[in-house]
Amino acid sequence: MAPPLFLQTIEDTGFSTWLRESESPFAFYFILLFHTFGLALLVGANMIVDLRLLGFARGIPLAPLKRLFGIMWVGFGINAVTGILLVIAYPTKSLTNIDFYVKLTLIGFAVWVMQRLKSRVFGEAALSEEAMTARGVTLARWSLFLWFGAITAGRLLAYTYKYLTFP
């Protein structure tokens, strides 16, 4: 089955061609770089909250960790923008790869878990630390698992594609 034609239309635009073929260090690799920074901010900050809920570094009071969700959303924003740009650069490569949809699904669930963590664990100021931990422990486990899966699926995109550009 041939890939749908609109992928070629995207690829033929000047912007997509520039992203893909420019020798400038501020083209493709720059976007890839910021996708990595976004990853570090989003998953790094989320991991701290998860580890704390799972019982590591118990000396950290839980309530102020709410601030880390701001970092997570900054990371998510960076990665949403850079992710779209990467798809524009290589639409056929990403959209014809099933692993790409696996990655998006895992991210979708991970972000949902992240929001559940924020509202259930950090949403009510009156909760005790024990109550917060009790509510968050399962979510924290899922969060670590889903982000690990999303990173792995993302890394595999570089090795599993069928077409690099429109055939």
């Binding site: 690799y29 770089l33 990595t36 570090a40 901010l41 570094a57 950290i60 009071p61 993302g154 090795y159």
Partner: protein, 327 residues
């Protein structure tokens, strides 16, 4: 500067440094001197760090001399195999040293004797022995006057032959790393997981010292640092394996070498944090407390350097073949 100069500049440090470290450790045992013990652990950790670019500068030096008359590929292979084994033990010694410092409640206090100190002693003795062999086999490559050779291969003592049985063959090892794209993808995946462990914990600690989320006390946040160490260990392992798999790809790449430089500067910055009193000035900071300027400066430098490490790492792919010397 070319790769031969770089290799010669760096390669004396891990060989002599580990010997000095072991000497201090043995003296500290006799005199029960905790400060001396701490110094030896810091030296082992520093040598483990310097050993990384030393190892990486080998293939470049090989490229520069392999066509010269009298240079034997077999001798270079033997040296490289010895270096791989020595690097493994050097990094384990460095990691155990950091574990021992951690268990002694901080780099800045006298080290106590515990299981990890015994392990450091054991592994550092082996490392010194293996480093001696690396130095000897390396010297043989360009100093025919000190080795008796037969058919281009230096004659060896019995103990060297036994050690040699445990050394990997560099070319076969490289083949193993690149044989399957799934193995390569798996290593790169772990490299990113390590990145998150490392930047996640160190980055949040840096931001807290700089004044972000002041309600978080520093000491418990600092206790997450073993996760950063685990991330560094994971990335060191996957990084070295990737390098041995495609050494020509990384060797002639400016981004790779600046990344190594940035990692060495991270080492200097970490030393500055723990040895200048900056750590003591922040470790008891509770909710709302503000860090002194020195600690903030070191935290900002840390963020900048890790930013540089990630940036340079991401650009390795686009800077391949940017170094033409001796290729």
């Amino acid at each position: 500067m070319n790769f031969v100069q770089l290799h010669l500049l760096l390669n004396h440090f891990p060989i002599i440094g580990t010997l000095v470290g072991l000497g201090l450790l043995l003296i500290s045992l006799v005199g029960k001197n905790g400060d001396l013990r701490r110094a030896s652990l810091i030296i082992f950790a520093a040598m483990a760090l310097v050993a990384i670019p030393t190892f990486f500068s080998g293939p470049g030096a090989q490229g520069a001399i392999k066509k010269l008359p009298g240079v034997s590929e077999a001798l270079i292979e033997r040296h490289q195999g010895a270096a791989m084994l020595a690097l493994l033990f050097m990094e384990i010694t460095g990691g155990l040293s950091l574990a021992a410092l951690w268990q002694s409640q901080g780099v800045s206090r006298p080290a106590r004797w515990n299981w990890s100190m015994s392990a450091v002693l054991l592994f550092s003795i082996v490392t010194v022995g293996l480093m001696t062999r690396v130095g000897n086999t390396g010297g043989d490559i360009r100093h025919p006057e000190i080795a008796s050779r037969k058919n281009g291969v230096a004659e060896e003592l019995m103990v060297s032959k036994i050690v040699h049985a445990f050394e990997p063959s560099p070319s076969k090892f490289a083949e193993l790393m690149t044989a399957s794209k799934w193995w390569w993808a798996f290593m790169m995946d772990l490299h990113f997981v390590g990145l998150v462990l490392l930047i996640g914990t160190v980055g949040i600690l840096d931001l807290r010292v700089l004044g972000f989320a002041r309600q978080i006390p520093i000491d418990p946040l600092h206790r997450l640092l073993p996760f950063a160490m685990a991330g560094f260990a994971l990335n060191l392992l996957t990084g070295v394996l990737a390098f041995t798999g495609m050494d020509q790809y990384y060797t002639y790449d400016w981004a790779f070498w600046f990344k190594m430089l940035a990692i060495m500067l991270v080492g200097v910055n970490v030393a500055a944090f723990y040895l200048t009193g900056a750590f003591e000035s922040v470790e008891r900071m509770g909710p709302g407390d503000d860090a002194p300027p020195l600690a903030k400066f070191i935290a900002a430098t840390s963020l900048f350097l890790w930013f540089a490490v990630v940036t340079l790492g991401r650009y390795i792919q686009s800077f391949s073949d940017t170094i033409s010397v001796h290729k």
